[in-house]
């Protein structure tokens, strides 16, 4: 379905829309900027990558998931796929560090949509930093408990 048409339906009201303090924000998992705008609203686009934090154990390197939007002709889940699939997204856990994840993002966008690409990368970096801080704290706490 065309992104333009969907936007006309969805821009006024949707489940991800949050209006606060005069700001129009979005909790859309495919939106990496947080602000609801036509280009950043990923769930209506054909290809988008959402960088999503997950709650995971301390031992995980990154508690981040990349949620890639699917554009299939008929909206069916591909059972043979390796990563977690849903009707609208394929989820890829970031296991091997930020660099590999960023390559996934870059490959997805190629040379187009630089703004979106940068937004995704920016969010990836921020989440990664937050994760490392959290990991450090949790490890320190665990160590202190051991003692």
């Amino acid at each position: 379905m065309s992104q333009q048409v969907l936007w006309e339906v969805v821009k006024g009201n949707n489940a991800f829309l949050v209006k606060r303090n005069g700001l129009t924000l979005s909790t859309d998992p495919f939106n990496n900027t947080g602000v609801q705008t036509y280009s950043s609203t990923g769930f209506i686009s054909k290809n988008a990558v959402g960088v999503v934090p997950t709650s995971g154990k301390v031992n995980q390197i990154n508690n981040i998931n990349l949620v890639a939007k699917k554009s299939t002709k008929f909206q069916q889940v591909d059972r043979k796929a390796k990563n977690t699939q849903s009707v609208y997204a394929s989820t890829l856990a970031v296991k091997h560090g930020v660099h590999t994840a960023s390559r996934v993002i870059r490959k997805r966008f190629g040379t187009s949509r630089v703004g979106l690409q940068k937004a995704a990368l920016r969010k990836l970096v921020k989440l990664n930093r937050a994760n490392s801080v959290r990991r450090r704290n949790e490890l320190a706490a665990a160590k202190a408990q051991k003692k």
Binding site: S2, Q4, V9, N14, F74, Q75, Q76, S86
Partner: protein, 406 residues
């Protein structure tokens, strides 16, 4: 559309099994999405379930109140007649008065219901059905469909014979629809306002809509106690259920026969509807609504003029070329050379010119004179300080060492 999108029918018992692999999508799902028609029809149709109510016509008017007129130093509003009670002489009848009747009291004969043209209602229903097949719209409506295997979700007719709620629940769990039901359960809230005392205590979200075909189906009883789930027959599809609140994109679970019936119900682009007499599906104004693709297509890009670059005609702030060398150079490229030549000439002449020599000599002389004066001043101050010390030592018998501190 050159290629008709295909849909699989799932087995009721096992969500990984597909009983019918590729069924073409009914034409309704290709209908253009028209939120304007839907919202118009919805706002009107939503009024049709209203029950007449009114205010007691005598409310606030059961007095023999009369205005006291002018000259009594009170407002001219009608006042309650009689005496012996607080109420006497108080204002009555007006909407602004305490215990007065409301302005424009509601009458029972208010126009509660709205009729909408049949065609509009049918178009709205068709659009709403189409929207249930579009994943982003279902997501935007807020349904939890991350575990659902396919949208639109079509299941074999076996579910129509479910009688037990457990069967229904297990079915929903198998097909990932239970997440939506859980959303409904967890977001059940006590309603704000007086309605809670009027039989509408809770505000409950909408969950999946199950659409069946056979009239003898027992699944209504199985599904009716599951929170949020609604059950409806295809022949009686309701816009208020397909687009609750006027918002497109309800999560719908179709049975196979219901799904197959849609073509007869709404017709296709090849034949008009068999059941809805003379109804023809709406045709889109643009067959290809993907503007980005159209603009970037070869056919358009060939004809289009090259993109205009923003050409800066002049700088935003004016620079004075007489003071700003770069601005001067921009206007007169030779100015740079001129300046260099002038500087060179000056340098060449510097050593020989009389005036410069004279100035230098004068400078030297004045510096010498200044130094002389400064030196004499220095000596004078030194002498004065010394003299002060001597006096202190001589007359105030202050020790030579201590004299410094005072």
């Amino acid at each position: 559309m050159t290629s008709v999108p295909l849909v699989s029918v799932f087995s009721a018992d096992d969500s990984s099994k597909v009983t019918a692999k590729h069924i073409p999508l009914p034409a309704v799902f290709q209908t253009p999405i028209r939120p304007d028609i839907v919202s118009f029809v919805h706002t009107n149709i939503a009024k049709n379930r209203r029950q007449a109510h009114a205010v007691n016509p005598q409310a606030g008017m059961q007095h023999s109140a009369e205005s006291w007129g002018t000259g009594r130093a009170v407002a001219r509003i009608p006042r309650v007649s009689g005496s012996g009670t607080h109420r006497s002489g108080q204002a009555a009848f007006g909407n602004q008065c305490r215990k007065g009747r409301m302005s424009l009291p509601i009458k029972v004969w208010r126009r509660w219901h709205r009729r909408v043209n049949i065609k509009q209602k049918r178009h709205a229903a068709a659009t709403a059905v189409a929207a249930t097949g579009i994943v982003p719209l279902v997501l935007a409506r807020g349904h939890r469909i991350s575990q659902v295997p396919q949208i639109p979700l079509v299941v074999e007719d076996k579910i129509e014979s479910y009688e037990k709620t457990t069967d229904a629940l297990n079915f929903l769990k198998r097909f990932g629809a239970f997440e939506d039901v859980q959303k409904v359960v967890s977001t059940k809230v006590v309603r704000a306002g007086i309605s809670k005392q009027r039989g509408k205590k809770y505000r409950v979200r909408k969950g999946p809509l199950v659409v069946y075909f056979n009239e003898n189906a027992k699944l209504l009883k199985a599904f009716r106690n599951v929170p949020g789930v609604e059950v409806v027959n295809v022949t009686r599809l309701n816009l208020l259920q397909l687009a609750p609140g006027g918002q497109l994109g309800r999560f719908v679970i179709w049975t196979q026969s219901a799904f197959a019936h849609l073509d007869k119900l709404f017709g296709t682009y090849r034949y008009s509807s068999i059941i809805k007499d003379g109804y023809q599906l709406l045709r889109p104004l643009i067959t290809n609504p993907d503007l980005a693709r159209i603009i970037n297509s070869n056919q358009v890009q060939e004809k289009v003029q090259p993109a205009k670059t923003t050409k800066v005609l002049h700088e935003v702030q004016k620079k004075n070329p007489l003071k700003n060398t770069k601005a001067m150079d921009r206007l007169n490229p030779y100015a740079k050379k001129q300046r260099a030549a002038a500087a060179a000439a000056i340098k060449a002449n510097t050593k020989g010119t009389k005036k410069i020599k004279k100035n230098k000599a004068l400078k030297k002389a004045s510096r010498a004179a200044y130094n002389k004066v400064a030196a004499s001043l220095n000596d004078a101050t030194k002498a004065a300080v010394q003299e002060e010390q001597d006096i202190k030592v001589k007359y105030f018998s202050v020790q030579k060492g201590a004299a410094q501190t005072e």
